[in-house]
């Protein structure tokens, strides 16, 4: 079962990379752009056909290691490729 985990810096945590990209976009004439945030995506495969089990494992690994809850938020998205 495939999953994608989207990780972003929490609201209120400075994202200097997002800010730099936003400024570059504004300088290039995209003057309606706002709130650029840079995150990352982790895709993975769980050897299980039971969705609730797989989801529980992915959630646990996010909380224990993949995501730092001091600064980051995450969302788990079951991957389209599985459909």
């Amino acid at each position: 079962m495939k999953f994608k985990i989207n990780i972003f810096l929490k609201k209120g945590v400075l994202d200097p990379e997002g800010k730099a990209i936003e400024n570059a976009l504004l300088n290039n004439g995209y003057n309606k752009v706002n709130n650029v945030r840079v995150g990352k995506t982790i895709s993975l495969d769980i050897k299980s056909d039971i969705k609730s089990d797989a989801l529980e494992q992915v959630t646990l690994m996010c909380k224990e290691m993949l995501v730092n809850n001091v600064i980051e938020d995450f969302e788990i998205v079951p991957s389209e490729e599985d459909k």
């Binding site: 209120g12 400075l14 200097p16 990379e17 290691m65 993949l66 730092n68 001091v70 600064i71």
Partner: protein, 228 residues
């Protein structure tokens, strides 16, 4: 005085720390690999600087889950002293031995320079025993993710408990102040019991006048004296 230094894949200050400890104590510290499941009985564990696991995932995040970290946590839980320098500080935060996080420098640049640091001595700690409140020391920093962050509630607790050990301070040249955007100018923090210290500056790099100064020598020497 028994010191253990842990090397992770990508650590690059482990040898510098060893040389500094040898210079101060006359004895070689134990150097162990992160895959070890046991840490020799010791008075101080040092997690050195570097780029453990190439800073993959987040700085220190993968190293914080190394086999040896279980023993480092046990050592800390028994009241043992742990010092994390630079990447070692990042590992201590990721291992939840200290509170908060270190994020990208606000200026987006790797910063490598000498900084002035003000001692904040509000709790008893072997790392601060030698110093007086508001003493100024000079040490070098070299990092890309040294911007200390904690949410407002955690930050208040840290400040109320007096756990900030070092703050960036305006030096005589006037331009070393807060090199990375750290909240409340925080450069180092302690655990509640004062025995675990995470610091971005590198004391092991200032143990010789030929290399820039002796403040790191004094800092490490006084710490080792307190712990032996």
């Amino acid at each position: 005085m028994r010191v253990t230094i842990i090397t992770f894949p990508g650590s690059n200050c482990d040898r510098d720390v060893s040389v500094a400890i040898k210079k101060i104590t006359g004895k070689n510290p134990s150097n162990i690999w992160h895959q070890e499941n046991e840490v020799p009985n010791c008075d101080l564990i040092i997690l050195p600087g570097g780029f453990s696991y190439g800073d993959y995932l987040r700085c220190g995040a993968v190293a914080a889950h190394s086999p040896v970290m279980k023993e480092v946590k046990n050592h800390a839980a028994r009241g043992g002293a742990v010092l994390g320098i630079c990447n070692g500080f990042q590992i201590l935060l990721e291992a939840k031995l200290l509170e908060g996080a270190l994020i990208r420098n606000s200026g987006l640049k790797f910063v490598c320079k000498q900084v002035a640091l003000k001692i904040n001595k509000q709790i008893h700690s072997p790392f601060l025993h030698h110093f007086k409140q508001n003493d100024i020391i000079h040490l070098p920093i070299a990092h890309n993710e040294g911007n200390y962050f904690a949410d407002s509630e955690t930050l208040k607790q840290i400040e109320d408990k007096g756990l900030v050990a070092l703050r960036y301070h305006i030096s005589s040249d006037g331009n070393s102040f807060n090199p990375n955007g750290s909240i409340n100018n925080i450069a180092a923090i302690l655990s509640d019991n004062g025995k675990v210290l995470g610091m971005m500056p590198h004391p092991e790099r200032y143990v010789d006048n030929e290399l820039g100064g002796l403040d790191g020598f004094e800092f490490l020497k006084s710490t080792l004296e307190q712990l032996s």
